[in-house]
């Protein structure tokens, strides 16, 4: 199986007035396609910096970053924008849907910036909305949806461009435990379909769902191990199916409280 991400000796230094902050001090790891990685670490560990680099929102000070077969470490701003549009799917903690757009239009946004917005794309966006259980809310605005529903729109948006991997940043941080479970099940289902997921979190319960956990401290990787006591066993036994997702929709009907 090919590699989705290959990182070698990645460093990132921030120059502040007089001192240089070394946020990342040489990080190397690979993410094979179809993997489900949780990146953990206390604040100040370089977790956010790594996330920004993985998301191509920033450039490393040194080291290489192969996204699929392309070295994106030193690309120009415009090229990085194109990479983000076509090869990375973002899921944020606070959903980050665009308030003036409907559910379908929000899902369309990455395609718009790829320049691939056609009638077929529209169909695909509707299909994705149905897939995450929002088929009957295509024309709703984000404010008319609960937190869990908004996050499911965001997940649909993250896979609309068939990305190399989904990059989730504390994707369940704003959700209650029931909704968190639903979202994690949705991630697992996507992973089960062969999608690569990289999730940044500081919650062990969330990280337990991943196949693999990378722990950072002071800009170094301190551990990188396969998850042995993975909750997936339980989930896969239940065999998360569309019905479950649909029933989850019913349960999360109540508007978001955040």
């Amino acid at each position: 199986m090919g590699k989705a991400v290959e990182i070698r000796d990645l460093t990132k230094h921030y120059v502040l007035k007089s001192e240089t902050v070394k946020a990342l001090r040489g990080v190397s790891f690979d993410v094979p396609q179809g993997d489900y990685v949780a990146i953990m670490g206390p604040s100040g560990s370089g977790k956010s910096t790594l996330l920004n680099l993985l998301g191509c929102l920033d450039r490393p000070t040194s080291g290489s970053y192969m996204l699929g077969d392309e070295n994106v470490a030193q690309m120009t701003d415009d090229d990085l924008s194109a990479v983000r549009a076509s090869r990375i799917g973002f899921v944020f903690q606070s959903y980050n849907l665009i308030p003036q757009l409907t559910v379908v239009e929000n899902i369309e946004v990455p395609l718009y910036y790829m320049g691939k917005l056609d009638s077929r794309a529209k169909e695909r966006c509707c299909m994705l909305a149905s897939m995450v259980g929002l088929g009957d809310r295509l024309d709703h605005r984000p404010t008319q949806l609960s937190g869990g529903q908004q996050q499911r729109v965001a997940i649909a948006r993250s896979i609309v461009n068939d990305p190399e991997f989904i990059l989730a940043d504390e994707a369940t941080g704003n959700l209650d435990s029931v909704t968190t479970e639903e979202i994690l099940q949705l991630f697992e289902r996507l992973n089960g379909e062969g999608r690569t997921i990289i999730m940044v979190t500081h919650e062990d319960e969330v990280a337990e769902h991943a196949k693999r956990v990378i722990r950072l401290r002071d800009g170094h990787i301190v551990s990188d191990e396969r998850n042995t006591d993975r909750v997936i066993a339980k989930s896969s036994a239940e065999n998360v199916a569309t019905e479950d997702v649909e029933s989850a929709v019913e349960r999360s009907e109540s508007p978001a409280t955040n």
Binding site: S81, R84, F90, F92, I98, P110, L117
Partner: protein, 442 residues
Amino acid sequence: MFFRTWILGIKSLLLHPMRSALTVLGIMIGVFSVIALLAIGEGVSIKAQQDIEALGAENIIVRSIEPPNDSIEFSFSAREFGISRAEMEQIRVIPTIAQVIPVRELRLQFQYTGNALAEPRLGRLVGCTPEYQGINRLEVDRGHFLTHPEKQATVCVISAELAKYFFPYEDPLGKEIFVPAKKNRFSIVGVLKEKTATGAVGGSFSGQDFANDVYIPIETMRRLMGDLEEKRSAGSFERKKFELSQVTCKVKDVKDVPKTAKIIESTLRRMSPDREDYGIIVPFELLEQARSTRIMIQLIFGLVAAVSLVVGGIGIMNIMLATVTERTREIGVRRALGACRRDITRQFLIETIVLSVVGGCIGMALGVAFPVSAEGSKVLADWLAPEYYERIPTYFREVVPVLVPWSFPLAFGISVVVGVIFGLYPAMRAAQMDPIEALRHE
């Protein structure tokens, strides 16, 4: 794709309808004031130009000016002033001049003895030649104007107003107008159509009111009345002597007018150097002046209006800066989802262009309706507060705004340019944001 970007911009603007409407209002007023002020300016200058053109661009008018009577001492000798017939003959030989038309005017009472109800009326007795009709654009309603065969006859042509006053139920032709001061009678051979008074032009020339005119052949006038005028009233006795009130010179070619005017002036000065009892009016030069004045008016009005457009533009910039700050998070999200800086700039620029184009279109629509609404408001003002309305100078009441066609593309163009210029900075500021910072923005 293209439409989507625009629809997206409109959607974003509709998220804050009140804010967007107020911004549009700023541009709308700007565009409207450009069109309206230029229309007023055009109306004013067209009126001035019409007044001057009524004098005839190919004419040069030499007019006698009565010097102020400042002598307190009693004198039997008559005051002599004005252009003489000899001087007129000197002017006549100037080769560029086609015609000279002498005029002698007197202010007198007229009477019609056949109508006892009509009081004598004060008017102008104008001694002139048949050519007078042409240069003053007088139109004959009934009968005919003075003719050359009649140059010695005691005939007259009267204005429409006098005809209506003295002969409300009769045919004036063949009747006689009596001039009590001179004890002369003139039989009417023609009645003119109504003619509005010409405006005062150039300061040295008072407006002419043709309302109470009686025209007689100048030779008849000289034969019957001579050159001497006596005026007696309580406590004063005045004698004055003048040969001609005005000589209108018609120049063969309009482009020779300025040159000819100089020749006339030097001719008159050579004959009597220190005189100040005549004035030379060159409508052609006034016309040229009026043209440059018109450009000045348009420039000043245009500038004033442009200032209001710029103010509208600052309004746009203000709103867009606030919008950009407010939507920092959205900018971060869009950048994360693949928008490059150019896309962000375009997005915000489109929003400002939509604002300014909508404002521009509404402003233009109001501009089209301006002349009608201006007339309407005059009528309304006259109806609501006639006593105040009448205090407005006639000149302003009579000015009709005339839309200047090029003011529309101009105003619209400026509004779009203003939108782009004042939208560019906020849009670029939005595009320059670091996506990571923008995403973190609360």
